[in-house]
């Protein structure tokens, strides 16, 4: 009895400590959109120890004693930006804060976003103030393979504190943005694909040799150090970061996101995925509406996910044929997609997915579909839906509060919560 009382006291102390870090909250909404397609009128979200403990009708779910209550007209899950360069391509756009592209070689899949993400960049709290709580960020298009991306929360003083998952994607780019000039390769679309195929074949051989070496009994391996001529194919290959990264792609541990806007470049991406069996994610995909059948048939019939270009991305050059209605076309075709903030070399230095999804909501998507494209579908594509993307019990307490329909131009974001902590309150 005494023991159990002691235990209860300890538990209490534990929960008090959690209180002190203010990770308990109740959030009421005139309408609470769950991100799953469902919504609750006069709903409430209870967050305990940073996690969602309850979601329901405000009339049915009691507010725990002493818990701060936030209230807004509309409540949504914290938004998930499926692909951008937040914290990697910085506000000032100088060489000192621009780490989104490395131009020393056309294929560098080993470049990790975790080594570049700057959680202190001013654009991070800026994006957060509109409700973005999770951002997938990292290397931008502009080289055949520019590197990796990672998912972070838009809070935390260090990348480790912000980290959700790394890597989330390895990013490649077909088409004019990744062409070299002056006699350097790749100089044509054909060369781009040839180079990718060559590298993926190398990676396949590397992976196979590695697997073979791992399967072989260990004795004798070290004796090779004596410089014998025995070039046994069962010897483990020297470590090669580049090929290791691509081997993870071939093993479907990490998807290969291929930036491709013109239909011909999208087709090349689909052809590569079929040949090498990696999990293809299409990035940008301005002309995706021209070949929805093929996209749907990709990845052995599971379809290729699309990280759709920002709705308001500039319609020039290879994106000249983009449409405000592509999201609706993909939805109708049953292709999973999420709307991204993308990369901008100039202004706006970061786009805000809330704004981009709003345009799609005005051009054929329903409200809930548009919301899913920047919450749950984005989380699913990145493989982080166990933690973020919807207001469901057990997930992180990441919530955005709005003064009205979040997609309306004149609605303001009036509060942002990450893991139960209020991180933005000034209306944006």
């Amino acid at each position: 009895m005494l023991l159990s009382r002691l235990a209860a006291a300890l538990v209490l102390i534990g929960s008090v400590a959690a209180h002190a870090s203010a990770q308990n909250l109740a959030i009421k909404g005139g309408r609470v959109h769950l991100g799953t397609g469902a919504s609750i009128e006069n709903g409430i979200v209870i967050i305990r120890d940073g996690k969602i403990a309850a979601v329901g009708k405000a009339a049915d779910v009691p507010v725990p004693d002493g818990v701060r209550v936030l209230e807004a007209a509309v409540v949504t899950p914290g938004l998930v930006d499926v692909r951008g360069t937040l914290g990697v391509s910085g506000l000032y756009n100088t060489k000192h804060d621009s780490d989104q592209i490395e131009n020393s070689a056309p294929m560098q899949p080993e470049l990790r976003a975790i080594d570049a993400y700057n959680p202190q960049d001013r654009l991070v709290p800026y994006a957060r103030s509109y409700g973005i709580t999770t951002a997938n960020t990292g290397n931008a298009p502009g080289q055949l393979i520019s590197g990796q991306t990672l998912a972070v929360k838009t809070v935390g003083n260090t990348v480790d504190a912000a980290l959700v998952r790394s890597p989330t994607l390895i990013v490649a780019n077909l088409g004019p943005a990744a062409l070299e000039s002056g006699g350097k390769s790749p100089g044509t679309r054909g060369k781009q694909v040839a180079m990718l195929r060559e590298e993926l074949i190398k990676a396949r051989e590397y992976r196979d040799r590695r697997a073979k070496a791992a399967a072989k009994p260990a004795p004798g391996v070290e004796s090779d150090a004596g410089g014998s001529d025995d070039k046994s194919s069962s010897r483990a290959p020297d470590r090669n970061l580049r090929l290791e990264a691509l081997a993870d792609v071939l093993d479907q541990k990490v998807p290969l996101a291929i930036t491709a806007n013109r239909a011909q470049d999208i087709e090349s991406a689909l052809r590569l995925a079929e040949e090498f069996g990696f999990r293809l994610v299409l990035d940008m995909a301005a002309e995706a509406y021209l070949l929805t059948d093929k996209i749907k048939a990709a990845n052995e019939g599971r379809g290729a996910d699309v990280l759709l270009h920002p709705s308001m991305y500039r319609a020039v050059g290879e994106t000249e044929n983009q449409s405000f209605e592509t999201a609706a076309v993909l939805r109708k075709a049953g292709i999973r997609f999420a709307i991204q903030s993308g990369y901008e070399a100039y202004v706006p230095k970061t786009r805000i997915v809330l704004f981009e999804a709003a345009i799609a909501a005005a051009h054929g998507l329903t409200f809930e579909e548009a919301l899913s494209s920047i919450t749950l579908d984005a989380a699913r594509i990145l493989g982080i839906e166990q933690r973020v993307g919807s207001l469901e019990v057990g997930k992180d307490g990441d919530v955005a509060l709005y003064s009205g329909d979040p997609f309306e131009y004149t609605t303001r974001c009036v509060g942002v919560v990450i893991e139960g902590r209020v991180v933005s309150e000034e209306p944006s």
């Binding site: 000032y92 654009l123 100039y346 202004v347 786009r351 131009y409 004149t410």
Partner: protein
Amino acid sequence: MKISIACLSPAGRLGVGLLLASLAFPVAAQERPVAFVNAVVHPVAGGGKDVPPIERGYVVVQGGKIKDVGAMPASFTPPAGATVIDCAGKTIIPGLVDTHNHIGGIGAADSSATIQPGVRVSDSVNPFDSGFRRAVSGGLTTLNIMPGSGHLLSGQTIYVKLRMKDGKPARTVEDLAVRALEDDTRGWKAGEIMGGIKMANGTNPMRDPPFAGTRGKAAAMVREQYIKAQEYREKWEQYDAKVAAAKDDEARAKVQRPAVDLNMEALGEVLKGKRIVHHHTHRADDIATVLRLARDFRYRVVLHHVSEAWKVAEEIKKAQDEGIVLGCSVILIDSPGGKLEAADLIMRTGAALQAAGAQFSYHTDDWITDVRLFLRMAALGVRNGVTEAMAIRSLTLSGAEQLDLQSRVGSLEPGKDADLVVLSGKPFSVYTKVEQTWVEGQKVFDRSIPEHRLYQTGGYGAGHDQQPYFCCYGQ
């Protein structure tokens, strides 16, 4: 030719007479009245600052002009023979005026010098550029097409109306141009193509020589040229005086005529207040430099972009009261930064200017922002504190005032050009669509026509130049 030019006053030296001879005023073909009825009408009349919309109103247009605007009486009788368009549930606003954009595939000053006032953007406009079709789909009717900001002075801008000509979108720059209606005191001659001058300071025009490398050098280079222009003007005044004083033809012929300098001619038009300076400027200190130069040389200027106008709104208002500044033409970008001088760009700039009593408009800067989303920019202003009436004014009449066109466009008042936009709903809702755009009494955009809708939503072919109209070819 040279002799005849010599006989003209300085304003006529550039062949305005030839322009006059070749132009035909774009007379609207539309003679039958059109009555738009049952709409929520935002006339932006009487200065437009706090005028509430007419909840159930009508607009009658005829001969390319607004005839009548008002609240629907119990029994509205349209003019005889009028085409009546029922706009129940819709909103009508004046055609949008974009004081700063770059559509038309334009290019003016080249890299040979940083100050090139003699170069005209009008000599580079491609009327078939799909940007014009996107613009009307966004409700734009009057544009100031500008050269870029990579020079301290990159050339002469052109004011255009996205009008129809012979039943088709205008196909030449002459047909797009806004022309002076009559000779005026600022120096415009009737029929002359109107425009301003584009200037820039801050980091965009900073480059290696012959461009300026510092802000101090930039201002010095500008001052040098305007001083030259003053001297050039004096030379011509002396010449004109001597010619006028000459006793006879023989004496007149002996007066030595100064050489015509296109750059100095254009700067002279700025000094006279004929051409408005449209000045790219971001940082508060750069804005102050624009004000200093404009005060020193007494020219009229519109401050464009003005990322940090919110820091110096009172100073801008003061210069406005002095008649130096016509207003601010504001751009809102979805995030700050992208370059150092826009690091402090905020969404509240419009509200700050409104609070200071400073005149302001918005502009698209297309392709920086998209002409199809111009309404959105003012809506973001409303989101951040601009009143709705002022936001509509900022897209229409305020822009017109910054181009000296407020007597012709920018509001729905009798006698003005019949430029209007029919919206599917409230002006500042994301769900609202531009349904129709009318310029000078003719419909230039109709969302129900698939070829028009393509440019509004985007899609395959929307980025290509508009197909030329081969009327009657092979017939």
